[in-house]
Symmetry: D2
Subunit: 435 residues, 4 copies
């Protein structure tokens, strides 16, 4: 995570201020529950809430931690400075540090997921808009980077929409996985704290109680969470790669938006680089690299070891901040992408009708020509196009062996683009529920 690739809302989730705020809420709600059980005095629990609107002094907490070498104790000491040692003396009773740390981490991930979901929604809106805008904008479909059959730019946007919509579902599932909390004590037995405290805190903070925890919340949840981010990132790479291809000098079917004032744009109009999409390709690698360490974190020793912690202190902010930035950047790229329909047609016609050779071949055989003869007929006309720069349809219309099997109208029909776009509405209805 570096400022260059960060947005403030997601960064804020991972700020020390925000972390201490969440810690406070966990502790304060736990006090309420303990008071309800009669374990601690109601007045003390109430007094803790006087810190509700306080600003926690991060520098002061750091200062205390430098002595105690324990972040939760440092925070509690500072809290005591705010609410008074009398109110503070029952805070954290029966709890273990991980109760606070793990519940907080899951709250942060849950909130991060909420931002990512909003990001995806914005991206979906842009993809949808562009899909309908270019529903009928014909371009050549390519397999292996080679011209195959016509498709439309709208279908390209529509498939990215469908893919991102699946990612939305994956993020929702990931959010659901991670939205748990645990207040279960040193080894998860609730020996020193009643399960109702966990239930209360979780209810207040929008979490489900972790059905069974040890000292920590089980890390398979986090592995699944970061794996979902990795899939989303891979889809971003997918879209970015398409745009990079479209913007290649020789293809030039689309360009990232280039602001008028941007230096060099008009003196070297050929030199507009898809740097945002290239950047997205790299960002995808960054998000994806969190997946394997998150999976390595699952196998903790017995009721916990702390090997996961340093990993999560990094990948927690890094992966979410980077993915948030990437989704927002991609949304902007999609939203403002300059599409060149004429270039699409020019490219499709680069080999003067040859992309239709397969349809002609099929038509000849269906008209009763033997497979071998049909092949030879197509081949001799195709070669004139490929080697001598002729137009395929013209050649076919001028070849008596071809016209003996197919009428001029039938030949014309093979070059009709409508043949290829006739099911676009069907597909749009599948994807968007309307066309």
């Amino acid at each position: 995570m570096i400022p260059r690739y960060s947005r403030p809302d997601m960064v804020a989730i991972w700020s020390p201020e925000q972390k201490f705020r969440i810690w406070f809420e966990i502790e304060a709600h736990a006090c309420d529950a303990q008071a309800a059980l009669g374990v601690i005095p109601k007045d003390n629990a109430a007094a803790v809430w006087t810190a509700k609107d306080a600003e926690f002094d991060v520098a002061r907490i750091d200062e205390i931690e430098a002595v105690t070498k324990h972040d939760v104790i440092a925070f509690l000491t500072h809290l005591s400075e705010i609410v008074g040692s009398d109110a503070a003396r029952f805070v954290h009773q029966g709890m273990t540090s991980s109760d606070v740390l793990d519940t907080c981490f899951n709250i942060q991930l849950t909130r991060a997921a909420d931002i990512l979901l909003a990001d995806v929604d914005a991206l979906l809106a842009a993809l949808r808009r562009r899909a309908f805008e270019h529903k009928e904008t014909v371009r050549i479909g390519r397999s292996h980077g080679i011209h195959a059959e016509p498709t439309t730019m709208g279908l390209t946007f529509a498939r990215f929409y469908a893919e991102m919509d699946r990612n939305k579902q994956r993020l929702l599932a990931a959010r659901d996985e991670i939205a748990t909390g645990a207040i279960s004590g040193a080894v998860g037995t609730f020996a020193n704290i009643d399960p109702s405290v966990e239930e209360h805190v979780c209810a207040k903070l929008g979490l489900k109680p972790e059905p069974i925890s040890t000292q920590v919340i089980p890390r398979d949840r986090h592995a699944a969470f970061f794996a979902a981010l990795g899939v989303v990132a891979s889809s971003i790479e997918n879209i970015a790669t398409e745009i990079r291809h479209m913007q290649r000098t020789e293809v030039l079917e689309a360009e990232e938006f280039f602001s008028k004032g941007q230096k060099g744009s008009s003196a070297m109009p050929h030199k507009r680089n898809p740097v945002l999409s290239e950047n997205l390709t790299g960002l995808a690698r960054l998000v994806r690299m969190a997946v394997v360490p998150a999976m390595e974190n699952v196998a903790l020793w017995h009721e916990r070891d702390i090997s996961h912690s340093s990993v999560e202190r990094n990948i927690g902010p890094d992966a979410t901040v980077t993915l948030d930035f990437a989704l927002a950047r991609l949304t902007q790229v999609v939203d403002k992408l300059v599409v060149y329909p004429q270039h699409m047609l020019d490219n499709m016609h680069k080999f003067r009708g040859l992309v239709m050779s397969q349809r002609v071949l099929l038509a000849l055989t269906q008209a009763g020509v033997s497979r071998e003869d049909a092949y030879a007929l197509v081949q001799r006309n195709a070669m004139k196009v490929w080697e001598d720069g002729k137009d395929f349809k013209t050649e076919l219309l001028g070849d008596p062996d071809v016209t003996a099997a197919l009428s001029p109208a039938q030949i014309e029909e093979k070059f009709d683009l409508g043949y290829h776009t006739k099911h676009v509405d069907t597909i749009f209805t599948r994807v968007f529920g309307e066309s």
Copy 2:
């Protein structure tokens, strides 16, 4: 995938015979749909089904492929040899190879998921049985590999159960993701084939039609699938690691089952190695290594490039076969794990009551002793245990400063294991719905 770590049912899914069987079904069902549309004669469609019970000759198909260098064409040629060229001439009409290949791959992955789900069910049953068996078998809980507070062996099994139950949900979601088919032609536009063919084939084969495909089914689905396998594998590593720790010479709280006849077992009774669990640790790495390449496969060029294919030809069988084997092996290990409750108690008492020092400390402060004094009291008695081998409870009972604050009964109570197990039923009810 090597025979040593393979089971026949999963291997069968990936056999050439099975693949050709699936290809046949896709083609034959597509013929039916085409006939229903009137695109091809009904008789021809019916005639294709004469190959229904035929054995496809893999060697013969390989022979043809050596000439045509195209696997689907080789298969279709062989099919023609079986059903006759007349019946065969309408097979595959309007379809592209990927329609067959991708739909088949997803069927294979779906069936693989079904086996994995059955594997997980068997593992869940074993974990549940062992959890209830050892619900009250007390052992020391450990954080950082160091004794913390008592827990029970049943809780250990129960948390593995809960984790695997989450994995079951992940596998179900992954199965759902991958259970799609596509018969949409060269670039996914249905130019040469009606969408109703896709719908018919999918319905017959238990798939949903892919809402929008290109030449291929989008690979974010597969990335999510293999990511789910990676999470399951990481959980296997988690359980295996616990068992390996339990079987360490110095811990010896459990052992993998060791058959009577197994060489060396009784002459060197101390040398029983947790080789199955160690093996599972390695197998987890093997399954996990499919995750990143599957994610790298997502960004195909335009309507498809074939870079994903070689990856999937390997990780498809490898990851599913290895995970199937690992789940079955783990089930056996769990099912037959030899548990040593007495060793658990012995270990817990290794430091003669010191694990209860925190409870005593807390009790002293709650009895009104200042935090500093309480700490000093516990410390001086703890040191006698640690350095001189004394018993903690005995020392406390003999320390007048301690007994001034706590009655002998109160001290005794601090060493009561029931304190730690009182919520086991609560947790079991959360996990299993009963206790």
Copy 3:
């Protein structure tokens, strides 16, 4: 590793026959050393060598292993069947299974490295030949997929040569890392076997003795080995990606060789797919996926755990066989690549001289025109090219404000391709030692 992507020599290294052959040699050489020390009778050692030319019966060994559940014991039992139980009784004395297994694995990896080095040499030869062939074949250099400045196809081949030459050095280092053997007993202390046995066996088999082993050879060596393979694979992806770009319909600067008889090539001459290069992209992912598990294998417990074994049984053959196949395939692709120099020129001129706009801008400022004015001059002429399809040089020559600053000859000079190729010889001399 699947047959489709395998070559016989590399596969043979990993065959059971070859493995047992190596095991035999380790054991027989160890017997010689033990006999020299007087630990076992010289006659027995000599008798073991009677199996020198024997075929080991893999099926028989498997049969024995099914009973003993131990592969080395099964082999030794079978060896005893060949050389007689009297000769066999001193075989393996003082050794531990890993002495055989680990030394064998390193021999296999060393031999695999030798094949890979030969593969790289063949690839280097092809790259060198093509580099000199196209040393002066001008093509446009591209950054971000966008035309930048001219370069030559020879430089493209030359940089791949330089990269692969570095990979050769990495493979040599990797081979050196892995060429060690260990015969050091159960925990590496030589308690039951003299270090001179290890020295003798290693000397005979072309290995260095591992300076300090435990039960196993340390796995950081293997991690470094597989990491080197991962880098080589990434370079393969790099070259493959270049070729895939060059073969795109719109670029068409080169094509993978397409044999005359290959179906469809002439009826659809535009549809020649770079499937070999795409396949290489996927194979690179497969090789690379061995890197992380190999690194995870390093941290074995104490003097060894066996978690690495299942990983290595897979990635050992898989990564080396796949990389061997990929290197050979790439060599063939490079060797036969069809290069289209005219298309390269056509592409370069797609925007009729605009790629030279930066040189013109620089020349104007050097001729004393202010930066702002120079920019405006270039811009107004560039726009006529970009929007109206004019020729850049012609426009410049016809612009009096331009010709006021630059003579026609000076303008012409800016479009001289020799300007860009003048240091090709320098670079070739750096890379190849000659030009």
Copy 4:
């Protein structure tokens, strides 16, 4: 990279100040070379060096970049503010941004490698000292976590020394790989700048000229660099895992140093957690996660795309800072590790001599007892130890069938620890060159 796991010297390498300082030196040296060639006036080149001791104003550069959206131009503008626009006008002439950026990045990596090499040297010194200190400290060697045969703590340290010494060689090779620079222009042809400029700049900055670059330095070098870091990290995990095992409550053969004042240490003397080693395990995962993205960065499009940049902006600092911190932390852990030789002996004797059962078995067969009988003899005595808590040697000495084959002295000899340590000096000489 977060402050918690960072050390200032390595962080400084990646500071903006340091980056601009390196940029300045590249530009200033390039001016000298250009002046020597007569391309720019010598006075201007000299004038640039007036900024030699200037502080570059990072905030000001950021401010300019916010307008120009180009970091190198922003820097050059600021440089112009320092040295005057007259001196500055020839700076960067003929160069491309990547000439500066890539050469700078490699300088930073080279300097990072120097710090890492110094870190490894410090670690080697600590390992060597502890190895000699505990050369003869006997402990049980373990395979599979199970007691095998005796070894010494010195051998454990010695093997970590040998492993880290190999890592030193790998880091040296990685440093050598990355210590190149390139000043070769937009596509690497030296069209606008003479190769002698590159040579001069590289010579001044301790780099080799990159033999052939494009717009960028080839990324296989960086892939190899980060792969080397990944191997080092895996070795750190290896050592950390050993320490974590040793500190387990049941093993307790060593502990991380625990300062007297550290809270809780004496009231709960059993609860000292190996948190530093656990942390190192996590840090290893963080370093390792840079390996795959660095490999994915190799396949750039044509003469460059910028996808690698965002990856490197993160993994450059992150991997080196984290590895530096981890090496230093590990050095401290090793240096101060508290070793418990008595616990080592206690553990070895946990099963009262059973670890010697294999030696006894071998001795019996060598004394002429049949394998079956020897096995039965060992077994019946071993069972008395295992099940009834007897002492193995005592039982053997009291078993007339055993003493019929082996004299008491022979039996005693089997329990002699010197048998296992007799080659420690040999191994030390191999590893350290002395013993």
